[in-house]
């Protein structure tokens, strides 16, 4: 949606101009303002349309990181799937908050369509936060770990 300030600015622009209609659209929003030709009090008609909503999909919005600094790295999911903290329900988790991890160390498994993806850490550091619970669905680019590097 457009915010009210943006709309008001456009209405003013239309009122002060010689043109009778403005239409602006981008990827997911569209606005068309038409100046009334009846000379009534209402100087313009505002129509805001949005593209049809996509079919509802069960998704989880990525959680916001607690802090992002120069030495904070965010590890995100490379694909849609289910997130697993351990190779099997009876196994110990690969990592826990507070653990020091090395480059190449497995952090978790993302499973999608029976493709198992052992996600390896790309740097040395310490796990500051784990953002997803075991066996939960994740989207592409979903935030999984916050890691503090040395």
């Amino acid at each position: 949606m457009f915010d009210l300030k943006e709309v008001k600015k456009l209405v003013r622009l239309l009122e002060q101009s010689q043109i009778s209609e403005i239409e602006i659209s981008d990827k997911d929003r569209k606005i068309r303002l038409t100046k009334s030709t009846q000379g009534d009090a209402q100087s313009g008609q505002t129509i805001i349309t949005a593209p049809p909503a996509p079919p509802p999909v069960d998704t989880l919005a990525p959680a916001a990181p607690k802090a992002v600094g120069a030495n904070i790295k965010l590890v995100k999911s490379p694909m849609v799937g289910s997130y697993y903290t351990a190779p099997s329900p009876d196994s110990e988790p690969y990592v826990q908050v507070g653990d020091h991890v090395r480059k190449g160390q497995v952090l978790c498994i993302i499973e999608a369509m029976k493709l198992m993806n052992e996600l390896e850490c790309e740097f040395d550091g310490r796990i500051v936060d784990m953002h997803v619970e075991n066996a939960q669905p994740v989207e592409f680019d979903h935030l999984l770990f916050t890691i503090e590097t040395a």
Binding site: V80, S82, G104, A112, M113, K114, L115, N117, P137
Partner: protein
């Protein structure tokens, strides 16, 4: 695109823990795409989340092969579905009875079913070499010669073998030959991933399409009508409110039969 030769390297094994683990080790030693590790039997054949796949010595086709898809890795999730199609097409010629071949179906994402019994399973693992080379190791388990009593009791009503259904004894080597041919003919669909072509081929054998399903995924149970595949190969269920649910993994899929 360079031709990929499957089976140029074949690692033949007796009874091992898992062909997946052996091929993974070979990958880290630099084995080429198309390499195959095939075993007489496996003691720890891999299933999801630490489960094992019953792989009795001499009773089936137990193998793993190395594939290097190209394009965005986020779409490599289609590789297991591609593998399901390849296995299906490798065994079709051994099922001359059309009554049986038309019930040879793919249960999402890639289990091979004859009617409502499992004939084969596929598990894929993404692997990364320290050089940065990424690949997928596809593990295939196909029941060939088992009779009903050969399966563990808990699988007897859920598993099937080709011999049991066709009454013809088929050797693992015969299937292997077809599998190599099918993989070579169709590997271009992975370079890069041709989602539309894989989806189209998969949908021709979709088990339970249009039927009502209950799916356990994580700690939730979803129910809806199976309407097709999502952009990453997900199972799409339409619930009673018309909402479409995309599922990327499952801990149990069952058809809901009306009373």
């Amino acid at each position: 695109m360079a031709k990929v030769t499957f089976g140029k390297t074949i690692i033949r094994l007796g009874t091992v823990t898992s062909t997946q683990d052996i091929l993974k080790e070979s990958f880290h030693q630099g084995v080429a795409e198309g390499a195959i590790a095939i075993a007489d039997g496996q003691t720890l054949g891999k299933g999801r989340q630490g489960r094992t796949w019953d792989s009795a010595a001499g009773k089936g086709l137990w193998l793993s092969t190395l594939i290097e898809p190209s394009g965005p890795e986020a779409l490599w999730t289609w590789v297991p579905l591609w593998a399901g199609i390849i296995v299906r097409d490798s065994i079709l010629q051994f099922i001359p009875d059309k009554q049986i071949s038309r019930v040879l179906l793919l249960k999402w994402p890639n289990d091979l079913y004859i009617e409502d019994r499992k004939l084969g399973g596929i598990l894929a693992e993404k692997v990364q070499h320290k050089s940065g080379r990424s690949a997928v190791i596809v593990g295939i388990g196909l029941n060939l010669k088992q009779q009903r009593d050969d399966f563990p009791p808990h699988l007897r009503n859920r598993a099937a073998s080709l011999t049991e259904r066709t009454h013809v004894e088929i050797q693992p080597e015969q299937i292997l030959e077809n599998l190599i041919e099918q993989a070579e003919q169709n590997v271009h669909l992975l370079k890069p991933i041709d989602t539309k072509a894989i989806e189209k081929a998969w949908m021709t054998s979709a088990w339970g399409l249009g039927e009502q399903f209950q799916v356990i995924s994580g700690d939730k149970v979803y129910e809806g009508r199976f309407i097709g595949l999502g952009p990453h190969g997900e199972m799409c269920l339409e619930d009673s409110a018309g909402k479409v649910i995309h599922l990327a993994s499952s801990d149990g899929i069952s058809k809901v039969t009306s009373q």
